[in-house]
């Protein structure tokens, strides 16, 4: 009896997970198929679920009409640098807030949390003026700075959760062995926290990789543009260039999907560390 239930359960599990897989993968599949269709076939009925003839003209096109490889490089550079800075800054703040309780620490956490509720646009014109005065407009540094700003509060909260899971006795032992507190943090705690830190890093990277609005507003120069801005340019007055758009979507999704596929173990593991506080 129990066994049959188990079998039924397994079958049910496979079916449900299968349906979910189709639901999740189909949109991406459809973008890939669209991108591989010749341009004139994209709009013809009946729809082809598999292109009659695979064509790479859409991919050729996006490299021809835009400096797509440059944008890819820019996005990668900005996203990586900003995510790295976020980690450097928030490992310190997350650690301190996890280990010490002092006057104002609760309010500080609150202040970080409230940033999540603020729509970006409210402060935007002031931010623009600030960037202008600091001479950062049209420089990638403006995006690196603003992406860092956007992520620091939440990543502090996230990392604080991870640090709380690690017993303080570990770094205390290291400090007795002659390490400074910071030395202990980086030599003992950070290595243990690597999965959690990876999860935070990926979170930060993905946010940066996707950001559109500030990238449009702060960057003018063709050679400094990022991928989302370039893709936004496929929306013209006449049409959305679905051929180029689908090809660009596929190319821009690939790095994140690969990153996810490689790192998903760390993500879940890292989050497991921080998920529930004992």
């Amino acid at each position: 009896m129990k066994k049959r239930f188990a079998k039924l359960g397994l079958a049910g599990k496979i079916v449900v997970l299968g349906i979910y897989l189709v639901f999740m993968v189909f949109p991406l599949y459809w973008m890939i198929i669209t991108s591989l269709k010749p341009r004139n076939e994209i709009f013809t009925l009946p729809l082809q679920y598999w292109p009659k003839k695979i064509s790479f003209e859409n991919y050729v096109q996006i490299f021809k009409i835009s400096k797509f490889h440059v944008y890819l490089g820019n996005s990668l550079f900005i996203s990586l640098v900003a995510a790295a800075i976020v980690l450097l800054v928030t490992i310190l703040s997350g650690y301190v807030l996890a280990r010490f309780s002092f006057r104002g620490s609760g309010q500080l956490m609150m202040a970080f949390f409230v940033t999540q509720m603020i729509p970006l646009f409210i402060g935007f014109s002031t931010l623009y003026m600030m960037m202008s005065k600091m001479g950062l407009l049209n420089k990638q540094a403006s995006l690196i700075l603003m992406y860092t700003v956007g992520l620091v509060p939440f990543c502090t909260i996230m990392l604080r959760g991870f640090f709380q899971r690690i017993p303080a006795s570990l770094e205390e032992a290291a400090m007795i062995d002659g390490c400074s507190r910071l030395g202990a943090l980086y030599r003992v705690i950070v290595p243990i926290m690597m999965p959690g830190i990876s999860a935070t890093f990926i979170f930060a990277f993905v946010q940066n990789w996707n950001e559109l609005f500030m990238a449009i507003m702060f960057i003018d120069r063709e050679s400094s543009k990022t991928l989302p801005v370039a893709m936004n340019s496929f929306i013209t007055k006449f049409d959305i260039d679905w051929g180029s758009m689908s090809a660009a979507t596929v190319l821009s999704v690939v790095p994140t999907v690969v990153l996810f596929a490689i790192c998903q173990r760390f993500i879940v593991e890292g989050l497991t560390q921080g998920a529930v506080k004992g």
Binding site: F43, L45, I65, S66, V81, A84, I85, L88, V89, L92, S125, Y128, M129, S132, G135, L136, L137, N138, K139, Q140, A141, I144, L145, T148, C179, S180, R181, L182, G183, Y186, F213, I216, M217, D220, R221, E222, V229, N232, S233, I235, T236, K237, F238, D239, I240
Partner: protein, 435 residues
């Protein structure tokens, strides 16, 4: 503590380094000290093909003026005007910018763009501009705030092959158009009569239609109002017009069209889903590319019940910021772009009506698809130009309101009477507030 300091230094150094490294690349404005002037120019109605052409024009400008370098900024279309206002509002370095008939009022009110009177006085080419271009250039305060690069005016595109098949002739009136649309609609085969505009930009279509129904009573100098001073929404004719608009959607257009903006409208026509399209001349090129010769043709705009069609000329062009540090060079660039040779290159790509009076332009017009423009211009009794309401303060808000209310009317959520009442009140209020 030694270790502490070293670790602490890291993020600070990294942050500083990022700033310094990228801070070194290129100065943001002005020249590089060798007498070279660097101009910044931004475009608004961006598209990859158009950007290519502008770049080529700039290259020939730089060749002719070796001491001037131009940096072109091409933001994505959707956010372009927003970016331009943001830059202007914070006086970010910018010299030449794309000014549109819908943005010029805002730019002038905020003193963001320069009055070009002195420059145009000294420019020999100014008098060669055609009447419509001059009118659009001087639309605000009767001063030239920008030099148009081209003009827009609507006409009717239709599927000649489908019309012939059913023995129809191109519609002369709005009623004809509705009937033709009904006849040609065959929704089972995904064929519809009319490329309806229900989404962003529907405002122009609705208001123009209501003007046509009000006929000769419209005050063409202040075209939201009648000669009597009442609004164009207050009459029984307006109700007839809006009823026709609703029927056109219900009986002659795809359901999806309630959300259609420019792109979908054109797409619907060129993909063979719709039989008629009312659009600007920049649509000629995509239509030509996608539809075979002989399958389509153009015609003058349909007229209202009393035989009048109201048209407006739209324009966009190049202007100069009021705070440009290099006004002389900036004007040089505008003048260069507005020269007949350069303008000819540009208008061909952008598909707009040229700005000059010249023989070449005339021949350009007589050719096929552009012919309705000549016909309309030669028939001022039936085709009446009006001054658009773009100079009212509430214009931006209005566009959104009428588009949304229009959709609500189509969906039956708002009655025709209530919509007209609301719009009537809006414009009475605008009139009180002044321009």
């Amino acid at each position: 503590m030694k270790g502490t300091k070293r670790w602490l230094a890291l993020p600070v150094v990294a942050a500083l380094a990022a700033g310094v490294v990228s801070g070194c690349s290129g100065s943001s404005d002005g020249g590089d000290g060798k007498g070279t002037v660097k101009l910044k120019m931004i475009e608004s109605l961006t598209s990859p093909a158009r950007t290519e052409v502008i770049k080529k024009m700039i290259a020939s400008f730089e060749e002719a003026n070796p001491n001037i370098k131009v940096e072109l900024i091409s933001p994505p279309l959707e956010s372009a005007d927003n970016k331009i206002s943001t830059m202007l509002n914070s006086k970010e370095s910018l010299d030449v910018l794309e000014v549109r008939d819908v943005t010029v009022k805002q730019f002038v009110t905020n003193k963001w763009i320069a009055d070009l009177t002195e420059d145009t006085n000294a420019w020999s080419g100014y008098k060669d501009l055609n009447a419509n271009s001059l009118a659009m250039a001087n639309y605000i305060e009767n001063k030239p705030y920008y030099i148009p690069y081209g003009l827009y005016q609507k006409m009717l595109f239709y599927r000649k092959d489908w019309f012939d098949e059913k023995g129809l002739t191109p519609p002369k009136t709005w009623d004809d158009l509705l009937n033709a649309a009904k006849t040609l609609t065959d929704s089972a085969n995904n064929r519809f009569g009319y490329s309806f505009r229900g989404g962003s930009g529907a405002d122009g279509y609705i208001v123009d239609l209501l003007r046509d129904f009000n006929g000769a009573n419209v005050n063409t100098d202040d075209a939201m109002f009648l000669k009597s001073g009442a609004t164009i929404f207050s009459t029984p004719e307006a109700k007839q017009g809006l009823t026709l608009y609703t029927n056109l959607y219900k009986d002659g257009s795809p359901k999806d069209a309630i959300n259609w903006a420019f792109a979908e409208q054109v797409q619907g026509f060129v993909s063979g889903a719709t039989a008629m399209l009312i659009q600007d001349p920049d649509t000629i090129d995509p239509v030509k590319q996608k539809l075979g010769e002989g399958t389509w043709a153009t015609a003058p705009m349909p007229v209202g019940p009393t035989g009048v069609s109201h048209y407006k000329v739209g324009a966009a062009g190049w202007g100069m910021t009021s705070y440009s540090k290099h006004p002389k060079e900036a004007w040089k660039l505008i003048e260069f772009l507005s020269s007949p040779e350069q303008n000819a290159i540009f208008t061909k790509t952008a598909g707009v009506i040229p700005i000059h009076n010249s023989a070449s332009v005339d021949s350009y017009f007589k050719e096929g698809a552009y012919k309705p423009y000549i016909d309309m211009a030669n028939d001022p009794e039936h085709f009446v130009a009006y001054k658009p309401e773009t100079d009212y303060k509430g214009f931006g808000e209005w566009r959104k309101i009428v588009q949304q209310d229009g959709q609500a009317v189509l969906l039956g959520q708002l009655s025709i009477d209530d919509a007209l009442k609301k719009w009537d009140a809006y414009w009475m209020n605008e009139k009180q507030q002044g321009k």
